[in-house]
């Protein structure tokens, strides 16, 4: 796919997602250092960076080992005079928090933008936490864009303000702002000469927040926040959008308004299309600190104002404070139902909320278009089977779970962690019965193992997660002599978020590096470590049995490279030969282990019970052969590229 040149000095325009538009803004703003840990909805920012040829990138980028380290890298660069940026997902802030909360105490002489991808609706996160709370905790401003154009524009604002004020500034994105696509425009920019002079000066701080030194630093942070409030009052992103005139607009006592920001703005504008007499809208650009003057003016000129904010009542608290302090008679309507705290503010969600507030103004739902349905016809009762995510064909985790299941007793306890292997909780494997967050499995397993010997506890941990936050739990297990089995699911990459390299991969974002060996590391710590490729299923079963019988803290490294990444590389090579297994019909006695227990999606059942191989899916890895008790799966063999397809002939058109 041809790529537009994100770093061209000339004006630029393309149809891109928010995660790409932000990279253009990094270049325009002169950002020099960018760091991150991959997590949805933000990893595509790095994919856009990767598409800029390495020698031409105007800034340094790295994936750090976790969000806290990434934040520290960006901080270090900033106090040395470089405009920096760190990005991560919503819950990444929890990992980064210890560092993050200190930033506002510091003089960030280069400026620093913190980009966080919140995930209302939990599209790919373990909660839908509202990160605005942590920004308030440490006096840090927040910009909230509603679409990719604003992602670009507000990044520039955030960067400039951060440089000017020497303070951290947050650009808070959400899933469907990161991933939304539209035509984005960006003006020409003069490439500034890059000045790499190390400007760190202890006198510019102090940078040591110790006891009595903290109060002046906190005072300075609060003063900067108050000056930012003036910015929030005057930014052109703060807008009053007048409601469309109509019969119900403006009668005394019924002047209505809505205060909103970010993605809910787009949903609100959709809902208000075609509504006559709709409310005026006050749209905030900076949501923290609150532009209290603009809010007071808006409240004063309306009789009833609904606050439309996704997740928690963050704006509501500030707006109610303004109304109380100013003695305003406007009826402020915040969250009126628990459902208003939950989920993404999509257009239907916003419609429902506004309908509940003003049923006379906003209809409950869009009236259905007239359908060409013959009178008396009822929709037939149909329910397509759910299709949850699953491990890919050839995935080493599938072989691992299939093998490990045979080493466990039904009462044993399995602890999951974050990664593709989390999918082991799904049928038919049911491996992983409790999950918290990155790297938590060893600590949880330690707690579960106390006071008991009757139920063996088995913890899973991925390799990227091992480096990210897993190591302290492992060391704790050794230090405090805990009694459980850790299975490290090592696939050589950060698979779930798009195959980012990690410390064990042998490469980083910018080139080759020494691969850190988890096995060597664990051995050097004194752990008992057993290692096996997961395709050796019998051996893996045996090693897990041994580990469980030995008792104490035992480690099994269940290793196999990510086959999705492997196949993406292989299929691009010249001379690639597609290989697939097939079912030997004369040997198959329809015990269906391949379909029902091993569960590779390449197998499918015919109505009569015969098993076939889906030619679109099988990658010819052959890990299934050993699972068939009747030896009815033929080893992978080359298939012609125009080979038989499972698709049936199209039916006649109706």
């Amino acid at each position: 796919m041809p790529e537009s040149n994100l770093i061209q000095p000339d004006p630029w325009s393309d149809i891109v997602m928010g995660n790409t538009a932000i990279v253009r803004a990094m270049a325009v703003s002169g950002t020099r250092v960018v760091s991150a840990y991959p997590g949805s909805p933000t990893p595509e920012i790095a994919e856009a960076i990767a598409r800029i040829p390495a020698g031409e990138r105007p800034f340094y980028f790295e994936f750090s080992t976790n969000e806290k380290v990434a934040t520290e890298v960006a901080f270090g660069a900033s106090i040395n005079g470089h405009l920096s940026c760190v990005f991560f997902k919503s819950v990444g802030l929890n990992v980064a928090a210890d560092t993050f909360v200190q930033l506002s105490l510091m003089e960030l002489v280069g400026g620093m933008v913190v980009v966080m991808g919140d995930d209302p609706g939990c599209n790919s996160s373990q909660n839908e936490q509202d990160n605005r709370h942590l920004a308030r905790l440490c006096y840090t401003p927040i910009w909230e864009p509603m679409d990719p154009q604003e992602v670009h524009d507000m990044y520039l604002e955030a960067a400039a303000w951060s440089q000017k004020m020497r303070m951290p500034v947050i650009l808070r994105l959400s899933t469907h702002v990161c991933h939304a696509k539209m035509r984005v425009h960006s003006a020409a920019f003069p490439p500034a000469p890059q000045d790499d002079t190390p400007r760190f000066d202890p006198a510019a701080g102090p940078y040591l927040p110790i006891t009595r030194l903290v109060a002046p630093l906190k005072r300075r942070a609060l003063e900067k926040l108050e000056r930012t409030r003036e910015k929030a009052e005057t930014t052109p992103f703060l807008k009053v959008l007048p409601g469309a005139p109509g019969p119900s607009s403006g009668p005394p006592g019924a002047r209505r308004g809505v205060i909103t920001a970010g993605l809910p703005t787009a949903s609100l504008l959709e809902v208000l299309e075609g509504v006559h007499g709709g409310p005026d809208v006050l749209r905030l650009g900076l949501v923290h600190p609150l532009p209290e003057r603009a809010v007071a003016d808006f409240l004063r000129s309306h009789d009833e104002v609904k606050i439309l904010e996704e997740l928690d009542d963050f704006l509501e608290q500030g707006i109610c404070r303004v109304a109380y302090r100013e003695g305003l008679s406007c009826r402020v309507r915040g969250k009126e139902d628990l459902e208003e705290w939950i989920g993404e503010y999509t257009p239907p969600k916003v419609r429902g909320i506004l309908h509940a507030a003003w049923p006379d103004l906003i209809p409950a739902a869009v009236p259905p278009a007239p359908a060409a349905v013959p009178p008396g016809t009822a929709p037939s009762a149909v329910a397509p089977s759910a299709r949850a995510p699953q491990m890919c064909p050839g995935c080493g985790h599938r072989s691992a779970f299939h093998a490990i299941a045979q080493a466990l007793a039904p009462e044993d306890i399995t602890v999951a962690d974050i990664g593709c292997h989390t999918l082991g909780f799904l049928p038919p494997y049911h491996m992983g019965q409790v999950l918290l967050c990155m790297g938590a499995s060893c600590g949880i397993a330690a707690g579960l193992s106390l006071f008991q010997k009757s139920r063996r506890v088995v913890a899973f941990l991925g390799d990227s997660t091992f480096f990210h936050a897993g190591i302290p739990g492992v060391i704790n297990a050794l230090f405090n002599r805990h009694d459980f089995t850790l299975i490290v699911m090592e696939n050589g990459t950060t698979a779930m978020t798009g195959h980012q390299a990690h410390a064990g991969s042998g490469e980083n974002f910018n080139g080759p590096t020494k691969a850190l060996s988890i096995q060597d590391l664990l051995v050097s710590l004194g752990a008992t470590v057993r290692v096996v490729d997961t395709y050796s299923q019998g051996k893996l079963t045996q090693l897990v049995r041994e580990a469980n019988e030995a008792g104490g803290f035992q480690v099994v490294i269940a290793r196999h490279p990510c086959m999705l990444a492997h196949m993406r590389r292989e299929t691009k090579k010249p001379g690639y030969v597609k290989r697939q297994v097939r079912i030997l019909a004369d040997k198959c006695d329809q015990r269906h282990v391949c379909v029902k227990k091993f569960g590779c999606p390449s197998f499918f059942l015919e109505p009569g019970g015969a098993v076939h191989v889906n030619a679109d899916l099988c990658i010819g890895d052959g890990s299934c052969l050993q699972t068939c008790p009747s030896k009815a799966i033929a080893p992978p063999a080359a298939v012609p590229l125009d080979g038989p397809s499972v698709a049936s002939a199209p039916p006649e058109e109706t």
Partner: protein, 200 residues
Amino acid sequence: MNTTQIYMIGVGGQGIGLLAEVLAHAGDRAGLAIRAVDTHGLAQRGGSVESFLRVGTRVFSPLVAPGEADLVIALERTEALRGLCTYARPGGRLVWYETAWQPLAVRLGREAPVETAAILEHAASLGVNARPVHVPDLPDPRMQNVAVLATIAGLGWIPGLATNHYREALEALAPPRAVAANLALFDAVVTAAESGRARA
């Protein structure tokens, strides 16, 4: 012109992203505003993946509401029924690539596979014009997405978009080595769809 709301659904790995990209660029080439969003992350691992596209003169949100899609595009039979049941508006349109990737519950024998007849019957009950697409003997199943695209173009199913808008977007976005084959397939399917449209 009103906004056309398009809902796309398939299975992770089928190439729905490129199809969505071509449609978005086609809308842009037609001089319309577009807002689009794809599924990223975990769901791509063999789960249902969806993509939204809204094309028109006044568009703000990229999200399509359930029951409001003017056009549902599906890349698999079970997903066609899912898209029809959840997102199609009564009187809307459905086009799908006629293939089957069995969901887990079907592979486990716990639930019945979706039959083509059930989709057509349900579509009829909703007044939805439904078209299965399958071109036999294509070297790469992802080329079926081009057949789906060409069917939409040939039938004129997105108001404001002409055949050349789709074709130019496809030419610009298809992988270079596959452009010629994809354009040839596109032209053949458009011609067939247009003649079918003329007959109707």
